[in-house]
Amino acid sequence: MPKRKLDPLPAAAFQILLSLAGEDLHGYGIMRQVAEQTGDRMRLGPGTLYSSIQTLLEEKFIAEVDMGEEANGRQERRRYYRLTALGRKLACSEAERLAGLLRVARAKKIFRGEHV
């Protein structure tokens, strides 16, 4: 069986999936959204961003949407990306995996003080 490319899911890919959960975004929009949701810790560069997008597209976790002229009339045509049902499922299972990890961490009293 061929190895799946997104197993385990890279952090960048997961962040992209999350950023698209709310709305369709173009590349720069994704970058900004990811920066925002990680508190500016992860600033995706063009190479990493489009590399991840390419992989996610290939595996059909996201899809390209042509917003065409009407949405961005005066600007040059940009490619927007949308989360597919499959992508949502993947993001969900990854989030659950992380939630499970978090439960373990809590049970082991990893956190200190008032945190969580």
Partner: protein
């Protein structure tokens, strides 16, 4: 200007990626360039870009490689990684390169030998080659050899033999060891310079091998030591004690007295 630089950097990506995303990547660069102003932001932007390049470039090139599939555990499987046949130019270049390597190897062998010879001789020879001293024939046929340096007896054998031959023509011989400690003459003097009065000039500077030569020749009652006590471990006493500076004059005097 900055955009042009980034466009060049994007040229490093594989063509497949460039075709699909070069414009989008440039657009993203332009957006960030527009939004992030000020020196610190710009520096951060470039740092981001280079970090991104370092991470994503290898990943993009790896992506181009097909995943090698194992048919079953324990069974060897073979797969051709590149499915295109090599370009004719590449074959030509490869062939030429192989020829160059093959030709260079045999051609370099004689040079390699020269190189080792050169290395040996440059280590053995003093800077002035085999100029180890002066041979002079003094009045009344007294041969005089003053040693100033230590030639390698192996490398300078011919010159040494020539010097000994010249000396051998004289009726008496003075070897000046006042400024040396080398002992290369031993095996040459053993066979030559026999049956003639032999004087060796010594001083406090004479030591080590030179002392051994003196000792040996003295034991054979062949040499008369003239000058000062030697400075090496042997501390040889001269037969005729004079100041080192006057030793040559003294030896000449002794030699002339011996000669008919």
């Amino acid at each position: 200007m900055s955009e042009r630089i980034y466009r060049c950097l994007l040229g490093l990506y594989p063509p497949r990626f460039r075709e699909a995303y070069e414009e989008a990547a440039l657009q993203l660069f332009r957006d960030r360039w527009r939004d992030e102003r000020g020196f610190v932001s710009r520096v951060r932007l470039w740092l981001d870009l280079f970090a991104d390049l370092a991470v994503s470039l290898p990943a993009e090139y790896r992506r181009g490689q097909p995943v090698v599939q194992q048919v079953a555990d324990g069974l060897p499987s073979f797969q051709v990684l590149g499915d295109e046949s090599p370009r004719r130019g590449a074959l030509l270049a490869g062939g030429l390169l192989a020829l160059v390597v093959l030709a260079t190897f045999p051609m370099s062998i004689p040079h390699a030998r020269n190189y080792t010879a050169w290395k040996v001789s440059s280590r053995a020879m003093p800077p002035d080659g085999c100029a180890f001293g002066d041979v002079e024939i003094l009045p009344r046929s007294v041969g005089y050899l003053k040693l100033t340096s230590f030639p390698d007896p192996f490398a300078c054998e011919a010159q040494l033999r020539a010097a000994i031959t010249t000396l051998d023509r004289a009726d008496a011989i003075i070897l000046d060891f006042r400024e040396t400690s080398g002992g290369w003459l031993t095996h040459l003097v053993d066979k030559a310079l026999t049956g003639k009065p032999l004087y060796i000039l010594i001083s406090a500077l004479t030591s080590s091998e030179s002392e051994k030569v003196c000792q040996e020749l003295k034991k054979q009652h062949r040499a008369t030591l003239v000058g000062e006590r030697t400075g090496g471990g042997a501390r040889l006493e001269p037969d005729a004690r004079v100041a080192a500076a006057d030793a040559l004059e003294k030896a000449q005097e002794l030699a002339e007295r011996k000669l008919p």
